[in-house]
Amino acid sequence: MAKEVSPGVKALRKVVDDVHADARRAHAEGKLVGWSSSKFPCELAAAFDLDVMYPENQAAGIAANRDGEIMCQAAEDLGFDNDICGYARISLAYAAGKRASRKFDPETLEYIINPNSGKPLKDENGNVVIDPETGKPKKDPKTQVPYTVLDDIFEIEALPETTEKEIAYKNFRREAIKPYRQMRIPQPDFVLCCNNICNCMTKWYENIARMCNIPLIMIDIPYNNTVEVHDTNVAYVRAQFDQAIKELEKLTGKKFDQEKFDQACANANRTASAWLRVCDYLQYKPAPYSGFDLFNHMADIVTARAKPQAAEAFELLEKDLEKAIKEGTSTTPFPEKYRVMFEGIPCWPKLPNLFKPLKANGVNVTAVVYAPAFGFVYNGLDEMARAYYKAPNSVCIEQGVDWREGICRDNKVDGVLVHYNRSCKPWSGYMAEMQRRFTKDLGVPCAGFDGDQADPRNFNEAQYETRVQGLVEAMEANQAAKEGAEK
C-alpha cells in the first residue's frame, strides 16, 4: 500500500513542481532563466521577477535518480577531476549539454529494456517467483526500465529535420532523455554564485559561465574565523549586494524594485521561521518524522524560500506535525529506539542502503545541521548580510560545534553518525575534531563512514553497516552505563 502523504508534504511537493514548471515556461517564452547556488540571496533575483533553478538541488535529484555516476563520468570525460565535488561534476556535465537518456533502437524507435532492471516478480501470495532456468528471482516486467545511456542536447538539436524519419528520430531522441524534472531544467541565461556554502562553487560557476558564455554575478563570502561577523565584513558583503543589483539591472533592463525586494525578504523570513518550527518538531521523543524527511524538504527551502507558497506549505506541514504529536503517529516506519544526528549531506544514490541498517536497529535521525543553515531570519540589509555570512562551510569550528551541539541537546540524540563526504572536503575536514568535541561535551559516541553525496563509487555498504552496528552497540553500552549509574 502506498504511504499516505500529509497535506503539508503534498503542498511542499507542489511548490517545487511549480518552481520547475515556471522556469520551463519562462524559458519557452524566451524569458531569462538563471542558475543559482543554494545560499545566494534569492531576495535579489525575486526583486527582478527572475526564474531561478538550483544546480545543487538538481544534482541531488539526479543522484537520487541513480544517474549521478553517468553524469560524473561525463564531467570527468570533459576533463574535470574525479576529486571535484559530485554536485559540481553533475552540474558541469549538464551545463555542457550532457543528459542521462533511455537507450532505444534508432530503426524501430523502441526502448531497449535492461534485463537486470526491475523489482522481483511476486505471485498472488506475495512470494518471489524463481526462474527455474537460472535459479534467480524473475523480474517484474512492469518495473523494468531501458538501459541508461549518455546523450548530448546540443547534438540532438543539431540533427537534421528534412525527412519525416529524421523528424521522428530527433523527437524520439529528445523524448528519450530521462523524464524526471531535474533532467529537464532549462539551460541557464545567467548564473548567481555565492560561495558561502562552498568554495568549489566559485570555479564551478565560473566554468558554467564560460561554457555557456553567460554573465556570472558573484557574491564572495570569505571564511569567517570568528563567531561574530565583523562590521567590515558586513560592509564588504553589502557593497557586493549593491554591485549585484547593478548587474541584475543591466541583465534584465529593469530598475531594482524595492517593494518587490521587501516583499521577498518578508517571504523569506516567514519561510525560514516556519522551517525552523518544523525542524523543532524533531525534539519530540519519539519524533513525529525523521531527519531524512527534512532532507527531502530541502528542495523547498532552497528553491522557493522567497515565495509565499513555500511559507504556506511549511506552515501546513507544521499543522500536520502538531496533529501527529497529538495522535502519537510518526512517518518513521519503525519504533524509535535510538536517536542520532546525521552529519553532512546524505549519499543520495544510496539512500535505501543508508536507511536499511538504521531501520534494522531502530535508529531515527532526529537531528541534521540544515536547520540553522537555512533557518535564518533577519531584519534589514545589515542583518541580511550577516545571515548570508553564516553557512556550514563558512563559519569557524567554534560556531560549527555550537550549532551542532545545540541541536544534539535540544533533539536529545544518543549518538552521531558522520558522513565523511568525498565531495565536500571542507565540511568533512573538520569532522574528526568535531567528533572529539561531541563525545567530550555531550558524552555520546560518534561513528564516521566514507561516502559521497552524488557519486556512488565512493560508498561501500559493508563498511557502512559495520560502522552503524558499532555505533548502535556503543549507544547501547552508553545507555546501559547511564542506567547503571542512575540506579
Partner: protein, 264 residues
C-alpha cells in the same frame, strides 16, 4: 553443569574461533588462514569443536563477528560488530585497557574503552594503507614471509623512509629501494614506520589513553608494535591471543547473552 559458548570471528583474511567454558576459561581455539567467502569459517568451526570434543549442539550460545558475520546466520544465534567484540576481548585480557588498536586484514580500528565498554571508535577510510593487506603486499615484493617481517625489521641499522600512504605507490617506493640495493631489513623497518604513522594518525583522532592494547594479527609483528609505541609515546600491550581477540570477545558476549536469555 558447565556452559559452553562459541565466538566466531570471520575476517577478510582469516577465520578464528574461541570456545569458552562458563564465560571465563578458554577450552579450545582455531584459526584458518582464509576468511569470508571461503571454506575457512566452516573449517575453523569444525576444528574448534573437534579440539574440544564437543558438537554444535553442546554450545549454549554462538555469536559471530567480523566482516563475514552475516554469512553465519544458520550457525550463530547472534551477530555483533567486530568493534564491540575487540573491545570485549581486550578488556578480558587487560582489565585496565582504555585504548584498543586493532589492525586486521583490511581494517584498522581504534576503540575508546571506558569501564570495559566501547564508548567511541574510528576506523580507516576506504584506503587499505596501514592494514594487514598492506604488509602482505610489501612482503610479497620483498620475497619474505609476512610473519618474518618483525624479526627482519629489528635487524635494521639505517632508517629508510617509505613516505607514500597509498599501497600501490609504497610498493613502487619499495621496488625502487630494492633496485638501489638497499638492505631489506632497513626497507622493512621503513615499512613498519609507515604503517605506524598512518595508524597513529587515526589513533589521535579518538584520543590515546593508557592502557593501550594492540590486537589483530599485525600485533604479532614486533616491528610495528615498537614503531607505534615510538609514535604514540605510550606503552603498547599485546597478548599471545592477539589474533583470537575478536573471537574471544564474541564468545564472552555469547556468554553474556546466554545469561540474559536465561534470566528472561
Amino acid at each position: 553443569m558447565s556452559i559452553y559458548t562459541l565466538g566466531i570471528d570471520i575476517g577478510s583474511t582469516a577465520s578464528k574461533c574461541v570456545m569458552l567454558k562458563d564465560g571465563k576459561e578458554i577450552v579450545a581455539k582455531s584459526l584458518i588462514a582464509v576468511g569470508a567467502g571461503t571454506s575457512g569459517p566452516q573449517r575453523a568451526i569444525a576444528e574448534v569443536l573437534e579440539k574440544a570434543g564437543k558438537t554444535e549442539a553442546d554450545m549454549a550460545y554462538t555469536l559471530a563477528t567480523g566482516y563475514g558475520r552475516n554469512s553465519l546466520e544458520d550457525i550463530a544465534d547472534h551477530q555483533m560488530s567486530e568493534l564491540s567484540c575487540h573491545a570485549k576481548g581486550a578488556t578480558f585480557l587487560f582489565p585496565d585497557v582504555h585504548t584498543v588498536i586493532d589492525i586486521g586484514g583490511q581494517d584498522v580500528k581504534v576503540l575508546q574503552i571506558d569501564n570495559g565498554v566501547m564508548t567511541n571508535f574510528v576506523m580507516n577510510d576506504k584506503c587499505a594503507a596501514g592494514t594487514g593487506r598492506f604488509l602482505d603486499v610489501m612482503a610479497r615484493v620483498l620475497e619474505v614471509k609476512v610473519e618474518d617481517l618483525g624479526t627482519l625489521g629489528s635487524q635494521s641499522t639505517k632508517y629508510v623512509g617509505i613516505s607514500s600512504t597509498c599501497t600501490v605507490f609504497a610498493e613502487s617506493e619499495v621496488i625502487s629501494q630494492l633496485s638501489m640495493e638497499t638492505n631489506k631489513c632497513d626497507i622493512i623497518n621503513g615499512i613498519h614506520h609507515s604503517v605506524a604513522n598512518r595508524v597513529a594518525g587515526l589513533a589521535h583522532r579518538v584520543g590515546v589513553r593508557d592502557q593501550v592494547v594492540m590486537t589483530g594479527g599485525v600485533a604479532q609483528n614486533i616491528g610495528i608494535v615498537n614503531a607505534l609505541q615510538e609514535q604514540l609515546g605510550h606503552t603498547i600491550h599485546t597478548s599471545p591471543l592477539t589474533q583470537y581477540n575478536g573471537a574471544l570477545g564474541a564468545a564472552l558476549f555469547a556468554y553474556q547473552k546466554y545469561l540474559k536469555e536465561q534470566k528472561g
